[in-house]
């Protein structure tokens, strides 16, 4: 019989192999799913994963959609390393977008170079402020940050809905729930003419490097990792838990806020009731699939962004529901968690030698229970 046996040391090979195994399992499930839906699976694969990348425009879209995932995923992974479970990146992204949008609307028509940097600052500050709420409540009142950050997602989305349908609605917008379009001075510059990829992607790449430096070379990053892996050791060493919680949430919130700013000052160009197809939640998957490592986050973001893009292409070309994307993303995380078991355990077929190390059970007669 096959059974699990703990490895003497965690397997480094499996650390890297498990995201790949998860991706392959996801593809196999996708293959079966396409057959079930009555599509030619190979054709569907081509439409889903290859066709979007056959044009320069498609590659631009791929990088464009990866940008918010990289930003949110980097921020979340820094928090997750310290076991600070910020799952409200979607709300922080929304508040970043609202803050940046507010600046854009306030200075509407002011064609000055300082407007855009101000919008970036507002976006980062908006996300940070929203993340500061769970940080404050956790450090001051011991309130669970998972539930608080998640609740604030709904609050942020309702607030955005209120703004675009109420005070910030474009008076010349035929009653559509959206604000004025931002002016050119309020939009992030495009990298290449004809593609929608903008400066935010380059900043996201820089932040990959900065995140790596923070978590691998700086003492603050080390402190956070110790608190995540061995909370008792961190306490003994005198590392402040409160500081870690604040850092984790502010970094995560700031990056998500910038992602929100980059969405409204990029592909969207205005505020509207929905500004993200769940990037903040998908970033949770990105962080785990990316092994909470900045480079991993980058690769995972590219994969997840391809799933978004493929979902759209498949909807147009195959009539597949775009919800397939969410299904694939959820499956990917499940498979990853399952594959991760082999980092610390291995499969062994043997005839129960484990019994020898469990004398306590064997000695206890049924009557005693």
């Amino acid at each position: 019989m096959l059974r699990l046996e703990r490895r003497a040391h965690p397997s480094t090979l499996m650390m890297f192999a498990s995201p790949l195994i998860a991706a392959v399992c996801m593809l196999i499930t996708g293959y079966l799913l396409f057959i079930l839906l009555g599509k030619d699976p190979l054709h569907a694969f081509w439409i889903f994963f290859i066709k979007p990348l056959t044009t320069a425009y498609g590659i631009g879209e791929w990088l464009l959609k990866a940008t918010p995932l990289i930003l949110c995923g980097l921020g979340l992974s820094i928090g997750f390393r310290a076991s600070v479970w910020n799952i409200g990146a979607e709300g922080q992204l929304t508040m970043g977008a609202i803050a940046a949008g507010g600046v854009a609307l306030y200075f509407h028509g002011v064609e000055a170079t300082w407007v855009l940097p101000l919008m970036v600052c507002a976006g980062v500050a908006g996300g940070m402020a929203w993340a500061a709420i769970p940080a404050f409540l956790r450090t001051r009142f011991h309130t669970n940050e998972i539930l608080v950050s998640l609740m604030l997602v709904y609050v942020a989305q309702l607030f955005l809905g209120y703004l675009v349908q109420g005070p910030w609605r474009d008076p010349d917008g035929f009653n559509f729930p959206q604000t004025k379009m931002f002016t050119d001075a309020e939009m992030l510059p495009l990298l290449v003419d004809g593609l929608r990829t903008n400066l935010a992607f380059v900043i996201a790449l820089l932040l990959v490097a900065v995140s790596w430096f923070f978590s691998h070379k700086m003492f603050a990053g080390f402190r956070m990792q110790v608190s995540g892996l061995a909370p008792a050791a961190a306490r003994y060493a005198g590392f402040s838990e409160k500081l870690n919680v604040w850092l984790a949430l502010l970094i995560g919130g700031g990056m998500a806020g910038f992602a929100g700013m980059a969405e409204v000052a990029g592909p969207i160009g205005q505020l509207q009731p929905t500004i993200s197809p769940g990037y903040g939640f998908a970033a949770i998957i990105v962080a785990f699939v990316g092994r909470l490592h900045p480079l991993g986050v980058l690769l995972a973001s590219l994969l997840m962004s391809l799933l978004y893009l493929g979902g759209e292409t498949a909807q147009m070309n195959l009539g597949l529901p775009s919800a397939v994307t969410g299904l694939f993303q959820g499956l990917l995380l499940f498979y990853l968690l399952a594959a991760d078991i082999f980092i610390t355990f291995r499969l062994k077929s043997h005839s129960r030698p484990m019994e020898q190390v469990r004398p306590v059970d064997a000695l206890l007669p049924e009557e005693l229970i």
Binding site: N144, L158, F328, L331, L337, D340
Partner: protein, 308 residues
């Protein structure tokens, strides 16, 4: 406002509270066994869509509710295999279950958007329902509302009076001790997690078959997360969890009656109330760390592997 006008407000409060109560009861049992399942929202969504789809095709609400429970159990089984047999991190796996449930329900429900069916009707109890005022107030609910009250007493008996309730609590407080005296920690936790799944699935089906008999993508709107908060708010005690559910039911329907009561606030801002109240009560209950420490099952969220 006359007293009679309170009847519909009370009725919708109870209706809004019932799915929260079921989901929170399920999670309560799961957490009492030491397992934190953050996938309630996902299980509710899948329960809602499965319940609706089966009720739509078979024409039977009973089968719909059964399908809701069954799908909740199926999702909980994935969670149980991963966290209990494969020792994965409970927080990460629970989040995965919710994200998966959101995707799966949107995918499975795409054909049912905009379709309606006759929802669950209130029971008419001979004599009792005819009592003036109190009849419509207390004896004009559907069967699952009464079921949630029965569930409350059943849980109180289970935890307080039954042998297996004691064993479940022992597993949650000290899995090593429960294992040492010969109980199967993993087996009991499996049961608790699956029960939680069944209750979440039922709660989801109640949303799509009783409260608003239709399917809308993401229709739970965070109720699964509120149910999780309710368990903390109720300090892992069934009675307090149910009271919390009624409190939240009241807050949820306030947005519908707010305009009528002359509160002129934008509907979006009123809709924030349940989420803000959730945060508020969480702060209230966790302000004193001892409250949580004394009531939370000791092994909550920690993996237990007996053979290593």
């Amino acid at each position: 406002m006359s007293v009679e006008q309170l009847i519909p407000i009370f009725a919708s409060t109870v209706a809004a509270a019932t799915p929260l109560a079921y989901a929170a009861f399920g999670e309560l049992v799961t957490e009492r066994s030491g397992v934190l399942n953050l996938g309630v929202e996902g299980m509710m969504l899948v329960g809602a869509v499965a319940g609706f789809a089966v009720a739509f095709h078979t024409g039977s609400l009973g089968l719909g509710f059964a399908a809701g429970m069954f799908s909740g159990v199926a999702l909980a089984l994935i969670f149980a295999v991963l966290t209990l047999s494969l020792q994965t991190n409970q927080v990460a796996t629970g989040l995965a279950l919710t994200l998966f449930g959101v995707g799966l329900s949107a995918f499975a429900g795409r054909d049912y958007v905009g379709v309606t069916l006759g929802g669950l009707q209130p029971l008419t109890i001979p004599l009792l329902s005819d009592i003036p005022f109190f009849g419509p107030l207390l004896f004009h609910f559907d069967i699952l509302v009464y079921g949630s009250i029965v569930a409350l007493f059943a849980l109180q008996w289970f935890f307080g009076r039954s042998r297996w309730g004691l064993v479940l609590r022992a597993v949650g407080e000290s899995p090593a001790s429960a294992h040492a005296i010969g109980y199967s920690v993993i087996g009991i936790r499996y049961m608790a997690v699956l029960f939680g799944g069944a209750m979440s699935g039922l709660a989801g089906a109640y949303l799509s078959l009783a409260i608003t008999p239709l399917w809308v993508e993401g229709m739970t709107a965070g109720r699964g997360w509120i149910a999780l908060a309710l368990v903390v708010f109720g300090t892992w005690k069934p009675m307090r969890v149910l009271l919390g559910a009624y409190l939240f039911g009241g807050v949820t329907i306030l947005q519908f009656y707010g305009q009528g009561m002359g509160i002129h606030i934008a509907s979006q801002l009123l809709s924030m109330l349940p989420y803000l109240v959730t945060i508020f009560v969480l702060v209230l209950i966790s302000r004193n760390p001892k409250t949580i420490l004394l009531n939370q099952p000791m092994s909550l969220g920690q993996s237990y592997y007996p053979h290593s």
